[in-house]
Subunit: 242 residues, 2 copies
DNA sequence: CGGCGCCTCGCTATATCTGGGGAGTTGGAA
DNA sequence: TTCCAACTCCCCAGATATAGCGAGGCGCCG
């Protein structure tokens, strides 16, 4: 297949993603892509803050099931690694030291996940986070060559998969993303860097009572149960920078 | 210029971005791109919510100066709009109602900013946010056609500009992170989603005192002053996924 | 085998946070 | 102008977190 032809097919796929009206369509697109690139597996994985996950892809359903049951989301070095990075990452470059990580890896290969992998982190508004992953079984050189050639295609595909998922899943961001007022941002930021309420109040030169109003107001806007929750959400949604 | 040739040039540009070792190099790349696409302006704009900004691009320096002086960051509908969106957006589709927005628009065109624009939001870890913008003066039909054709190129360029900016941005020295134990991860995670200590203890089926040991131990490992600080750091460092 | 890290549990007292009220000023938007 | 959101201040009682002391069992690794 010539290069030009492939580019045009990529165009088709993106067009199909843009026109999709149901999440199920993503599944067939991703299967087509898996075959097209001749890899073992291809997965789009929505990692939501409220614990719910959505994914489509070609992993063995038994593995997906196990992943959810075991709560591997909090262990998987791919997720944790991509969460801290911006650029796509080869699985080999992640941190697989640590007992839990190695146990996870063994379990994964036992369920047929390839030894090679390449994952692209994607971020949307309000801290939305997703992963687009391609995985395969082959030696390092072959994989290196594959990722080198298709990196840019994969970045675009990741982008459009996420765009479609965002479009089709508006209920994913249930809390109306109310912006925090400047004072609330300052309050949350100072709390996030370890100040106590009294210290924050002193730093902002306001009474502690006033400060409490900000915390409560921010907590309400963020739909949080307590201060720690509010700060966590503010960080996760990118409303404050620590 | 043929399509294939252009693709190869895009390759060159991306390669140059990946190899860049100083932020100044971005400036020459973006000027080359502006000429290549034959548009009026092209801008990469790092928008850190703590107020600091970095940008490179082809806007009139007087306009950039005025933008900073006037604090337009908090008014600019392009910034505000992109902050709420994932996909690239045409300026025409933004909300230009509101007195401040219209005043900003008038000021912008007075400083030579084109009437058409297309901006791509980009997000990195820890709420990092940037914009890649291309702007021009032409009629709607011509602009529609331009964005339709080059959308994917621009998305990729936005991605690589941001990757380079992230790489070259100083002060991003991640502190050596001591790994948290599985129980500590669970503890921090549940606290981050709003559970009180008692609730976490119940959820994990352990005594509240044991839980407290985990919190203190995690706080120590994270170098945190209190629970909120510890949770904030764990999230910001990607040690837990919320 | 002897450390070391991890997991589990106990007590007490103080400091801090939370939740329920209410009230006045300012500046920008409808 | 009228209204609303943001900012500022106040009281109080009960819930919750923190700080200090302790203890024992389990599994891994040199």
């Amino acid at each position: 297949m010539g290069f030009l032809e492939k580019v045009l097919q990529l165009d088709d796929v993106i067009g199909q993603l843009e026109c999709a009206e149901h999440l199920e369509e993503l599944q067939s697109v991703i299967e087509w892509l898996r075959d097209h690139y001749a890899v073992d597996d291809m997965v789009y994985h929505w990692v939501s803050s409220n614990g719910t996950q959505y994914g489509c892809g070609t992993y063995d359903p038994a593995w997906v099931q196990r992943y959810l049951e075991k709560g591997y989301l909090r262990i998987d070095p791919v997720v944790l690694g991509c969460y801290q990075r911006f650029h796509p990452v080869d699985w080999k470059r992640l941190d697989w030291s640590g007992k839990a990580a190695r146990a996870f890896l063994n379990d994964a290969v036992a369920h047929g996940v390839g030894n090679q992998g390449y994952s692209i982190p994607i971020r949307g508004p309000n801290g939305q986070f997703a992963l687009f992953t391609v995985s395969h079984s082959c030696d390092d050189a072959e994989w290196e060559s594959f990722t080198e050639i298709h990196r840019r295609d994969l970045i675009l595909l990741a982008h459009y998969f996420n765009q479609t998922a965002l479009k089709l899943e508006p209920g994913r961001t249930p809390e109306p993303t109310q912006p925090l007022s400047p004072r609330e941002v300052e309050t949350m930021t100072l709390l996030a860097v370890g100040y106590s309420r009294a210290q924050v109040a002193e730093t902002l030169s306001i009474s502690e009572h006033t400060l409490r109003v900000y915390i409560e107001s921010a907590r309400f806007k963020l739909g949080a149960m307590n201060t720690t929750h509010a700060v966590a959400r503010a960080i996760a949604r990118g409303q404050i920078v620590v």
